[in-house]
Amino acid sequence: MAPHSPGTDQIDTLLWIGFVAATIVVVAINVGLIYAIRRFRAARGAEPRPAGDNRRLQFRVGGALTVFAALLFILSVVYTNKARETPSTGDAGLAAAKSEPLTIKATGQQWLWRYDYPNGSFSYYKLVVPVDTAVKLELVSTDVVHTWTVPDLAGKRDAVPGKVNDVVFLARDEGTYAGDSATLSGQAYAAMRTEVEVVSADEYEAFVKQQKSDIEAAQERVVGLIESGDTP
């Protein structure tokens, strides 16, 4: 993962904190274990020391562990709250999304993602968003549980039928970002991928306009075919 949004920056920082904490735990336990096994062998003449409960040491260890856990909890809450913040659209972003985020509906369906843009156009598989713009994805599902994940731009979220789940992100850099679905949804689950293309605000405007006229043209053609009786 390489973060390309303010939210994933925070997630990345927290991930490193977690990684360091986990490494400390794993190293401490395994070093203690290996030391004990190598050093205190009966074969090397070790004598068992009498075992006595050591209440004070136990309180100290328990206290240290509590502080460690509390520290992790506080750091997690801080960084999670930062990652949840709705970013504000920058100067290069879409002017219409200055006051509130650009809202796009993302529908998970076996086995495709559909994106509905505010102007009534839609696209499958590929989501096009303007750069430097706060985007709110409203995740819904028409069938089973899907999980939308584009790791470089945002944390993953589930699309659960009957519920709306939000993902908010701001893509800092233009480019194409790959994504997947992350909850088993049936036969073609592994192929249910997605892609986010981050373009400039003008290109975005042009894209949704073009998409809308293409869709309308296609619909008119279909209606025309039906009326003229040429349907196969």
Partner: protein
Amino acid sequence: MKPKPQPELVIDGYPKRRPRWAELATSADHKDLGRILICGALGFLFIAIVEMLLIRLQLAIPENSFLSPVTFNRMLSTYGATAIFLFAIPLVLGFFYYVAPLQIGARGTALPRLGQIGVALFVMGATALYAAFLFTPSEAGVNPLAPLSEVAFLSNNGVDAWAAATGLATLGFVLIAIDLLTTLRRMRAPGMAWRRLPVFAWGATVSCWLLLVIGPVLLAALTMLMIDRNFDGVFFADGSGGAPLLWQHLSWIFYTGTYMLVLLFAFGAIAEIVSAFSGRALLNRSVTMGSMVVIAVVGTLAWMQNMLTAPIGIGWMYFAMLMSLALIVPIGLIVFNLISTMIGGALQVRAPLLFAAGAISAISVGLGAEMTHSMVAVSWQLKNTTDATAATHFALIGGAVFGGFAALHYWFPKMTGRTMGESMARISFWTMIAGILLAFVPLFLAGSTENQVIDAYKFFGGTGVSTYNLIASIGALVLGIGIVLTLANAIGSRVNGPEAGHDPWGGDSLEWFALSPPDPHNFDVLPDVRSTRPMRDIRDSIAHRTERSEQPARESQPVA
């Protein structure tokens, strides 16, 4: 070898009227039932390995077509159900059921017929799961999330078979837990107060309470699923007032509780082994026992840790994180006490201790990673990636396979009268260590750096995960070979292993007072329990009485 103590009343010497398999199949003795559970569980461990290897073979190279998507999903679902319901839980319960009554000085269990029905239900569940291969096994994954598990999306009978299988087995586990709990409450030897209970028997007590809570939760969920699928119910169906998230809550309560069950078992067994092989009592027993209760309660309350990407309130996410991170304290204290018992002891590094140390090590890696996963924003990134697969497998293979094998090597002499081959145990152990590292460290990397998603029947080339997956597949094979070596060792040693005697390790608890293998009534005489180390008291008083105090039993053992 010690002379066999003379029983007061000989009732066991009469020839059996029926063949041995018939005796075993109709027995309500906790030792016979425990053996069925353990042997069944180890058999299903072998099957689970075969399934895991098929899955890993499919995932060895990008866009492989060795298994079709449907076959892959069936293999995945069956692997999950086998590993959890037919291996981990029955193995854990089998050891509890065999050993705990002996440890508390009971001559049997309180409700033997209930236990017998429990084991029969487990066998029926296993049969139902594999009978599904006659038609169609489940395709809905390890935890079949509604609404994928609904009849609208999977209309064949696979999910029904899965629900019947897991339901039957779980009902069986709950019945066994009731029997064992009643035994532990009512049939302790004179003087065996709760505070003097061996840590493993205490782990059994806590685990059985836990099963009484989580078992019915899953049974309720399965019943609703069955009604949904077969009688037009709408419990989990969206659009008719149903709630898909309800299934997630109920099932994750069970799965998270099961995770804790495996940890409790592992810590209990490791505590016995560490104490026996370092020649001293476990340090801070009472803290360890208290911590076990906290793990059972707090750990299970963390079930929403599995739902941090679902549409639930952020407050609930923080609640789940609080519970998960709170586990650092009791688990940390237990591990600290286990290691500090070893430090300052005189360690006999035999197979049980080796596997116990391996279990602590693997669990530390798994739980370290799980700790990171419980941090909410991290979970948004890493949930449902292979990083989570690796974390869960490290912790559960550490607990159930390494911990289970430690228990197997430790109590094998009690069950069979013979010790398992030591050099084979060592070869198997180091193969398993190499295997688990090779199999799951690459998956950590693939999940955390490249976000490879779980449960997918294929991955794509050019996404940077091909090498990781190839190494992981080779590692899975190595791990499988290591595990099979121990299974073979157990089968071989049953007949050919060196004679162990009744008290091979110098353990402190009362199971070593019984014969190896124990008579059907367990004990001819019951001692008065005066301390937390009753077997040591017995050994001391025998030595005192015969004025032969120069040779404690342990020093006669070969030293590794």
